[in-house]
């Protein structure tokens, strides 16, 4: 599938069959991924993997809005013909859907986003990849508290082609590379063990820094040793960037998904236009940042991507939802370019591009120094209930802060709060911020959180 005209020919072949078989709308999506992966276990190289995934999916929709979908990774004409016919027979069994309006039109202009493809990743060899994995291993070996590490280095080169019956025809090539570390440390005096993790995802190979990743993982792990139980308190919660992503941004991404919204499964339903948080709270979903992991010129349906403000000066904007063409059509507006599709095997869902909680004015050290008694939260395995906003969960990686100092790691400590109160109680946002894949977040201080300790 290296040749664009081959793909074009296959696409016309499939779209023609679909049209003949009474599909009013049809869209064909080709996806190729060449990848490599190096696994580290017990702080040693364990496995080297290379692979390739190539396939095609077709969705067909009839006059009444009934949709059929089929996919295959067999690209011979015979298999593609079978796939199209299957999709048509699926379409014929569906229910009508007046909310379906149209597939995206042919667009004249797409914005340019640079830095999404790096030829160093496309041509990366296993030998050179191993150097990145070895960075993780070396630093872990030299650390006298580290007892084990699992991790990996991976990279992929991806190509996408989309064609539809409205004449849309577009393609892209992108690269991605990532490194991650999950490290176990042991306190030799107390014999206590703990884990820490860190990861980095980039579009460009020269941004990958395995040494920083393992160093941060080690720091996180050590900060989490010798955990103590505490009494229940009502206190401020200081979220690290990782904490902000898992506790605020990921849930928000689900809550502003137009599909979730239209089904009234979001705690933010009926709150568009309201002030959710302080004036200094700004959140956006920006697809147009050069070199960013979530950036793209077009989405999973070929719609041009853009920058969308979600929360501006504390206000949840009326236009702050993430749409694909279906949910947008239902509301009679244009798609926001958030159709998400990570393979030929799925229909376009809705997803973020780069979700950013913008930095504030305080320094992170000052925020922590001014806390008399509070909690630093780096990671909870829990997630809020998106339909109610309720959260109650365990602090898996967190510490007590007293008199401005980060002290003991917390054991068996839970906390509970509703997400609306989280936004309302944001007191400070740090200048410093960090990017993890498609998310960017600073440190955030939330006042008055109920912490449930288990010290008796």
């Amino acid at each position: 599938m290296q040749n664009k005209s081959d793909v074009s020919n296959l696409a016309s072949f499939a779209l023609n069959i679909a049209e003949k078989l009474t599909a009013k709308f049809a869209e064909i999506y080709f996806y190729l991924s060449d990848y490599l992966n190096i696994d580290i276990e017990e702080n040693s190289i364990k496995n080297n993997e290379i692979g390739s995934d190539l396939g095609v999916g077709i969705r067909v929709i009839n006059q009444k809005g009934s949709l059929g979908f089929a996919y295959t990774n067999r690209l011979e004409r015979k298999s593609i013909e079978k796939m199209v016919k299957t999709a048509i027979s699926m379409m014929r069994t569906g229910t009508e859907d007046p909310d379906f309006k149209d597939l995206p039109p042919k667009y004249e202009v797409y914005k340019t986003v640079n830095g999404l493809y790096d030829k160093d990743i496309k041509y990366l060899s296993i030998e050179d990849s191993i150097l990145y994995a070895e960075d993780l291993i070396d630093i872990c070996d030299k650390d006298d508290m580290a007892i084990s590490q699992s991790g990996n280095f991976s990279s992929s080169y991806n190509k996408t082609f989309i064609f539809n019956s409205n004449g849309l025809s577009i393609d892209s090539k992108t690269t991605i590379s990532s490194v991650s570390s999950h490290v176990i440390v042991k306190d030799k005096i107390t014999n206590d063990t703990s884990f820490g993790f860190e990861s980095q995802i980039e579009r460009n190979l020269n941004c990958i820094n395995g040494k920083n990743v393992i160093k941060t993982a080690l720091k996180n792990a050590k900060r989490n040793l010798n955990r103590k139980k505490i009494n229940s308190i009502k206190a401020p919660l200081i979220l690290t960037p990782k904490g902000v992503i898992s506790f605020i941004l990921r849930p928000l991404a689900s809550a502003i998904n137009a599909e979730t919204f239209q089904y009234k499964r979001s705690f933010l339903v009926d709150r568009r236009g309201e002030y959710l948080g302080p004036k200094f709270l700004n959140i956006e979903d920006n697809a147009l940042i050069d070199g960013a992991v979530g950036s793209a010129t077009f989405d999973g349906e070929g719609v041009p991507c853009k920058n969308k403000r979600v929360i501006e000066k504390g206000k949840f904007l009326k236009s702050g939802l993430l749409h694909n063409s279906y949910t947008a059509g239902k509301e009679g507006i244009e798609s926001s370019g958030n159709a998400a599709r990570d393979s030929y095997s799925s229909l376009p869902a809705i997803g973020i591009t780069n979700m950013i909680l913008q930095s504030g004015n305080s320094s992170k050290d000052e925020i922590i120094q001014n806390v008399k008694e509070g909690i630093l939260l780096d990671y909870t395995g829990d997630r809020p209930n998106i339909s109610t906003g309720d959260f109650s969960g365990l602090i898996l990686q967190g510490n007590l802060i007293r008199k401005g100092e980060i002290l003991d790691a917390l054991n068996e400590t839970m906390f509970g709060i509703n997400l609306l109160d989280v936004f309302r109680n944001i007191e400070e946002i740090s200048k410093e911020s960090k990017t993890y894949g498609p998310f960017q977040a600073p440190f955030v201080k939330i006042a008055d959180v109920q912490i449930i300790g288990s010290a008796s």
């Binding site: 364990k46 993997e49 449930i452």
Partner: protein
């Protein structure tokens, strides 16, 4: 049983050629090739959102020498691609081997030459798409009409039939013809600003007869009833309580908080609280924990199909078998794949599983459960002065390094003076696994035993599992709530 045409490519000549290429270069190899077919039906608010069907052909080639593994996934499966991929995989393993610190050999096991077929009553391939759709539509109808407070319903039907060929350097040649099916029902109810949801699923290894069981037929009604019930539930108060767990929660606890720590790859990576505990007491004497993914257990539960977490052989060609993990409170065995078994010098016990032919097998559970004892549920409740009865789970997770776990329950009832009282929602339970196994104060009898099924994720791969047990009571569990 006739092998699928697509898999006939692996004839004697090809296998001989691969063996020659492997000789003097690597110690072990296996090739897994699968022809996957399946259907996805997703209805929301009585409308079809997705009606789809797929066919894929996948192949993964794995190689090994002296502690180092190589893996190559092919995009196109023909003779020359297989040989080319095999050579690449050999290079990858040799590269791994030159860098890995832990040298070991894979212990040779007896070759297995066998064909397995799931004897379904209503073969999925023969069922018309219209019949599948009718069932889904009917469930949507039942749940959406149950109450005016139900605002949103979703029913998802997933089926798959797989024809899989496994070959390895020990001479194994295993062909499997499998069918799996899962039905999922979600209901959202709303009263003023309050939204509550309930989800249920039924799954199994077998054919369309799975849809005819009572559990499958009642699934939408059950979800609807539960969602409405939760509208009246109160938010819990946090603190420490005696907690009675129902079989689903017991199963989740056994699987999440304990089972993962028994996976030998986790143990070797020093991430397990059980690292040096074989032969030692880790629970009260009444505790027996088993993992048994063998085929043939469906009938124990009066089901016409096989349990969702069961399999004939694992993805390394090792037959599934019953493994005793804890016997009378003493830790007896870990779960192994061929690598961990070789390194710990024991026989593999059939837990090397992958979610597809293009993913590497890991150590995984199958059907993990706590054996019943002698308490009746009523006795357990009567015997509890103050506590919480928790039923069904939403999700759970565990830090295997420390054993700190957390589960979110679906329904929880206050217990006061031996009586079941008001319903609470979103109760979370947390504790330390090894402490909790010693604080069990009652284990239910056979009549209270049940199981549930689901997909368990590890290292980016989801595999079919079941877990279960009887009702159990544990003292002093931390309960988290919003207040």
């Amino acid at each position: 049983m006739e092998i699928a045409d697509e898999l006939k490519i692996y004839d004697d000549n090809l296998v001989k050629e691969l063996s020659n290429l492997a000789r003097n270069n690597i110690e072990y190899w296996d090739i897994r090739t699968t022809l996957n077919n399946g259907t996805v039906l997703n209805f929301t608010n009585q409308r079809s959102k997705e009606i789809s069907s797929y066919e894929t052909l996948e192949c993964g080639i794995r190689t090994f020498i002296n502690g180092g593994w190589g893996f190559c996934v092919l995009k196109k499966i023909d003779k020359s691609n297989i040989i080319d991929g095999f050579l690449k995989a050999i290079k990858l393993a040799r590269k791994s081997q030159s860098l890995c610190k832990f040298k070991f050999n894979i212990k040779e096991s007896n070759p297995l030459n066998k064909k397995f077929k799931i004897n379904s009553i209503r073969n999925l391939e023969s069922i018309d798409i219209q019949d599948k759709i009718e069932i889904v539509k009917n469930h949507e109808d039942i749940s959406s009409k149950y109450s005016k407070e139900i605002k949103n319903t979703r029913t998802v039907y997933l089926d798959g039939y797989f024809k899989n060929l496994f070959l390895n350097s020990f001479g194994s040649h295993i062909y499997q013809d499998l069918e799996v099916l899962r039905l999922f029902s979600a209901v959202y109810a709303q009263r003023k600003g309050l939204i509550q949801n309930a989800m249920n699923s039924v799954g199994g290894v077998g054919g369309f007869e799975i849809m005819e069981t009572e559990a499958a037929q009642n699934i939408s009604l059950k979800s609807a009833k539960q969602a409405i019930m939760l509208l009246d539930a109160k938010s819990p108060v946090g603190g420490k309580f005696n907690v009675i767990m129902d079989p689903k929660l017991t199963g989740t606890f056994i699987h999440e908080a304990f089972g993962h720590a028994c996976e030998a790859d986790i143990v070797l990576n020093k991430e397990s609280i059980l690292e040096d505990k074989i032969g030692k007491t880790v629970a009260i004497e009444e505790v027996n924990i088993i993992d048994d993914p063998t085929i043939g257990q469906g009938k124990k539960f009066n089901l016409p199909y096989e349990l969702y977490g069961s399999y004939n052989v694992d993805d390394e060609g090792i037959p599934s078998q019953k493994t005793v993990i804890i016997e009378d409170g003493i830790l007896r065995n870990f779960l192994h794949n061929i690598e961990t078994a070789s390194r710990m010098s024991i026989e593999p016990n059939g837990h090397g599983r992958a979610n597809s032919s293009v993913a590497i097998p890991q150590v995984r559970m199958g059907f993990t459960y706590l054996e019943p004892k002698d308490w009746k549920l009523e006795e357990m409740i009567e015997d509890t002065k103050s506590g919480v009865l928790c039923e069904d789970f939403q999700y759970g997770y565990t830090d295997t390094t420390t054993g700190n776990f957390q589960f979110k329950c679906k329904f929880s009832y206050k217990i006061e003076n031996g009586e079941k009282k008001e319903l609470m929602r979103d109760v979370s339970l947390s504790g330390m696994t090894l402490e909790v196994l010693k604080r069990i104060t009652a284990i239910g009898d056979k009549s209270t035993f049940n199981y549930s099924d689901g997909i368990c994720g590890k290292g980016g791969q989801g595999v079919r599992v079941c877990d279960g047990g009887p009702f159990i009571r544990i003292e002093d569990i931390t309960v988290g709530g919003l207040n």
